[in-house]
Structures are given as C-alpha cells and as structure tokens.
C-alpha cells in the first residue's frame, strides 16, 4: 500500500486498532490512543498506574494488534544490563570443534519492549536501556548492533510500593515522549471488564496493522502541516515552564522546567493525534491535549508544591491557561 493510500485510511485504521484493543481493554481509549501516538512517532511511553489496572496487558495487546515482535523485561533489583542487551557466549563449532564468542541478543532486540515496573531495576540496568531508546542500537564490547525498526519501549511503573525502587533519572525520563496515567475505569466499564474476564473465553486482540503500514504512518506524521502560530504557541507553553521572573507560575511551583525535547515532543505528538483523528492539519486542541502527557514527567516540582499537594498536571494546566 502506498503512503498516500495509507494516509487516506489512517482514521479507519485507527478505529480498527481501537476496536481490536477494546476486545480486551475496556475504558482506556485515551491511553490506547496516546500509546499509538508514541508508537507512530517512533518514541517511547511510560505508563503509570496502580497495580491491576491492565498496564501490562494493554502493551501486550498493542503488540499483538500491531503484529510486531514483542518482548517483556520484568525489572527487578538484581536484573543486570546484559540481561537486557544480551551477552557474548562461547560457542563451539560442531565440525571443527573451534570455540568462539557469539553475541546472544537480549530481549531488547524486538520491536516492542515492555519494561515492566522499570523503577525496580537498578540505575545501571535502567541506563542500559538509554542507548537503546535514544540511539536505537546496542553497544557491547567493541561492537555495535543496530536494533530492528520500529523500536518502542513501553515501560510501566506503579506509584505504590516505592520501597526498594529506583526512581528513573531525569535524563531517562526525558527520553519517554509521553507519561500516561492509567486510571480506574468507571463503574460501567468495570462491570464489562469483570464480565469479560470471568467468562468462558478470554478474548484476544486481532492483528490489524502491519509493520510496513506502521513505518508509513511514522513518515506521514512528519508531513502533517502545522501553522507557524501553533508551533509558536507550543513553544511558548514549554518556555513558560522554566522558572524565571516572567514565568510566575513556573517560579512558584517548579524547580526545573521542560527541555527543548519537550517542545519537539508536543508538536510531534499533536501531529500524530491529528493524523489518527483523520485531520490533515494540527489544531490547537491537538496541542492542548498532548501538552500534559508530554510535560508531566519533565517538570520537577519544588518543595512548596509538593508540600501543598500540587501535581505536575495541575501546573501544566495552569500554564496552558496562561499562555494564549
């Protein structure tokens, strides 16, 4: 299928993905849309939510729907970097009996990586993911191995049981395009979930998108036109998060603001949202909708706001209101 044809069918394809995902994930349409945004922009997403809300299942279902090679890394404090990237093993050639080192690829060599409870891994192991996430390659010893594209890391963490965890460093957090909050479903949705998972057959999502179509969508996202005014608006929001005399809200609530990467993220995510919704231009709604998930993990609250119980979402909302 040509790119132009894919573009015309994007909305229909997204509806299909949503329908397929909805066979096993109920009441999380926004999170599914944002995960897909993260995927088609070639970025990574961090999912946070209480245990039992279906974070892992959601990522697994997405991998199935997109028909991509999926691997799961269950992060624990004793997980080693080589457990993620892979390691050299000695292998004997049966014919000659000659022994040589061969690189055994780790779970990172897949298209979709589920790094479950990433904050339980040690900083050293978390850092092993850094190069893979940013450069889309793995370096071991003197050799560098490129990763198969598309490559996405969808990591989860839960806000409870913080003992024995290693909060992700800011540098690593910045590499996730979006931080998605998985919240409790409403009563009706929860009723459907209970009914679905206590029946005879547990539903499985259908394969909807091919790897080829996904790569085409990644290209189309970057073609999406955005007006200079809106790009400027997105940038002004990002700049307004940096504490200074002019940025009163940021100065009051934040220790550090968002990076330039956040500006790129807001515009790119807004483009992807517009594409998935079948629009051929980016609107202000797209910018506003994507600003909070892009900024929430990039803003560092100061002591005062933590004491007052102000969240980064609250601050981002205040800043969006201020910037016109």
């Amino acid at each position: 299928m040509a790119e132009a044809d894919t573009y015309k069918q994007t909305k229909a394809l997204f509806d299909k993905v949503l329908k397929s995902m909805n066979t096993c994930i109920i009441g999380q349409d926004e999170v599914i849309e944002h995960m897909l945004i993260s995927v088609i922009t070639g970025n990574h997403a961090l999912l946070e939510g209480y245990p039992g809300l279906g974070k892992t299942m959601m990522i697994r279902a997405l991998a199935q729907t997109l028909d991509l090679k999926f691997s799961r890394i269950q992060c624990t404090p004793d997980l080693m970097p080589s457990d993620i990237t892979g390691t050299y093993i000695i292998e004997e050639e049966p014919k000659t009996g000659k022994k040589e080192f061969r690189f055994q690829e780790g779970p990172v060599f897949a298209n979709i990586i589920l790094a479950d409870e990433i904050n339980r891994a040690t900083p050293k192991t978390q850092s092993a993911l850094l190069e893979a996430m940013q450069e889309k390659q793995v370096t071991t010893g003197n050799c560098t191995f490129p990763l198969d594209l598309p490559f996405f890391v969808l990591a989860t963490q839960n806000p409870l049981e913080m003992e024995g965890t290693y909060p992700l460093p800011e540098a690593q957090l910045d590499r996730f395009l979006l931080k998605l909050m998985v919240r409790y479903p409403n009563f009706d949705d929860e009723e459907r979930i209970v009914s679905l998972y206590t029946g005879e057959n547990v539903p499985q999502p259908q394969k909807v998108l091919s790897k080829e179509v996904l790569l085409q969508l990644s290209k189309i996202v970057r073609m999406m036109p955005i007006s200079d005014d809106l790009r400027n608006y997105a940038l002004r929001i990002v700049v307004a998060t940096r504490p200074s005399e002019e940025n009163k809200t940021a100065k009051q609530y934040l220790e550090y603001g968002a990076s330039s990467r956040a500006g790129i993220g807001v515009v790119l995510a807004a483009k992807a949202r517009a594409l998935l919704r079948g629009n051929n231009f980016v609107s202000k709604d797209d910018i506003n909708a994507m600003t909070i998930p892009v900024l929430r993990h990039r803003l560092i609250l100061n002591f005062e706001s933590e004491r007052e119980g102000v969240t980064t979402d609250d601050v981002a909302r205040m800043i969006i209101k201020e910037v016109k």
Binding site: I220, P225, I226, S227, F281, S283
Partner: protein, 277 residues
C-alpha cells in the same frame, strides 16, 4: 474577479476583510467624532478640535487590533471551518507532499464557500450606528431647543455661546435676536444693532395711566431693560427707538437706574398702591 489559486483566494478573502475593517474604522471614527463634538460643545470648545481625539481613538484601536490578530486569524474567526486549517495551509503552501496538497484542496473548498458577511460584526456596527444616532439626536435637541448650547458654541469657540442671548437683550424693544439665538453670528449682530424684525415679540406696548398721565411702558425684566415712550402718544414704532451707538446690555439690577427721573416717583407710588390692594 474570482480567483482560482489558493493564494489568490486567500488574497481575495483578505481584501474583503480589509474592506470591512476600513468600513468599521470609518464608522468608529464617525462615532468618536460625534461623541467628542458633544463633549466639546458642552465644554464650550470648538467642534473642529473633535477631529483630533477621534483620529487618536481610531489609531489606538487599529494598533490594538493589529497586535491582537493576524489577518489569517480574522478569516479563521469568521468561518469556524477554517480554524487552524487556513493558517496551516498558508504557512505550509510551499511544501510538496500529499498531506499539504489535500489540505490546500480542502481549504480552497472552504474558501469558495466563505460568506463575506460572516466577517461583518452586526452587533458592533449596530452599536456604533445606535450611538451615533443618539449623539446626533442630543446635538439637534440642544440646537433646536436652545438648552444653553448654540451653534456658535459648536463652531466658534469660547465666549460666543451666549451670543444669541446678548442679541435679544440688547435688542430690547426691537425684539431681534432672541428667536434666532441658535443662529449665526450675523443674526446675532443684527439683533445687537436693533435692526431686526420690527415685530415686538414681547407683546404689545402697555399704556399705563398713572396719576392721570398715559405712560407707554415696555418692561423686560428678564434683561433688566425698560423702554419708555414718555407720556402721551406713542412717538416711535417698536424696533426703531434706540440709537445704534447707545445700545448696551444692562443687568436686571440696573432696572431702577433707567427709569426717567421725572417718572420715578409716579411709578413708585403706582406699585405701592398695587401692593396695598
């Protein structure tokens, strides 16, 4: 002429918006001008000075709106279907990919459907017109009912606003000027010289018989003027009894001074008698 290219269509729509903006600014200027005319008339300042603040108001409004909105945003505001779409298409018109091409095609379609009256702010225009009508009505009322403001006040600057009143006062028995209080300066001057209409607007001359003498009396207490033709017959017709160079406005309190000395006693006694009755 109907444009066919995207840029041509945007330019065409842009021209509509500019024309409407020009009309709005003209209307704003007219309203501001009338408001300042009224204000300056009340303050006794010349009308021609009202042009300056009116121009300033329009200029300030233009500068504020210019900062607030780009012409493309005005077009988008006038037609919700174009919101964000038009500026995205316009800013990316040089890109050559199928997404932008489709966007431009869609935008062209919406531009064809663009109704120029959608940019016309009826409420705003109505407000300006309404305010203008009210101000004009107030100005006309002030002029025709002579409520302290005369045309000289609008045109002539400070000091002439009571010219009409002066004329009538000085006219005295001649009666010119007062009816034309809102008239021009020549009318006022005519009244001052006592050469106006010979009709006595204060009514007929009163003939009082006091102590056997017939006295022709004209009393204009509002101006403190009194004219007397003396006893006996009416010697001069109204309107011709005062020499040009003898005309002076006199205040009410100077009434007594103008009574001929030989009649002072008789008049006093007449009024005392009236008071006694």
């Amino acid at each position: 002429m109907k444009q066919t290219t995207f840029e041509g269509k945007v330019h065409e729509a842009w021209t509509y918006v500019m024309d409407i903006a020009l009309f709005n600014y003209s209307l704003m200027f007219m309203t501001a001008f009338l408001a300042f005319v009224l204000l300056f008339a009340l303050l006794g300042i010349g009308m021609y000075l009202s042009v300056l603040p009116a121009v300033l108001v329009v200029f300030a409004a233009y500068m504020l709106n210019r900062r607030k909105q780009h012409p493309l945003q005005i077009l988008e505001k006038g037609n919700p279907a174009l919101r964000d779409r038009l500026s995205a298409a316009y800013d990316n018109k040089d890109q050559d990919n199928f997404v932008v091409k489709e966007l431009i095609r869609d935008t062209n379609y919406y531009l064809e459907d663009l109704r120029t009256d959608s940019f016309f702010n009826l409420r705003k225009t109505g407000t300006y017109v309404g305010i203008s009508i009210v101000i004009v009505f107030i100005l006309l009322s002030l002029m025709f009912f002579g409520l302290g403001i005369g045309l000289p006040g609008l045109f002539g600057g400070v000091g002439n606003s009571n010219g009409g009143s002066q004329g009538s006062g000085s006219g005295g028995s001649n009666g010119g000027g007062s009816a034309n209080g809102a008239g021009d300066t020549s009318t006022s001057q005519e009244a001052t010289l006592g050469q106006g209409s010979s009709q006595n607007i204060y009514g007929d001359v009163s003939i009082a018989k006091i102590e056997g003498k017939n006295m022709e009396l004209e009393m204009h207490p509002e101006y403190g003027e009194e004219g007397s033709a003396g006893s006996g017959t009416n010697e001069k017709p109204p309107g011709t009894g005062i020499e040009d160079n003898s005309v002076q406005a006199t205040a009410a309190e100077s009434y007594a001074e103008n009574i001929p000395v030989e009649l002072e006693g008789a008049i006093r006694r007449y009024f005392e008698k009236l008071a006694g009755e």
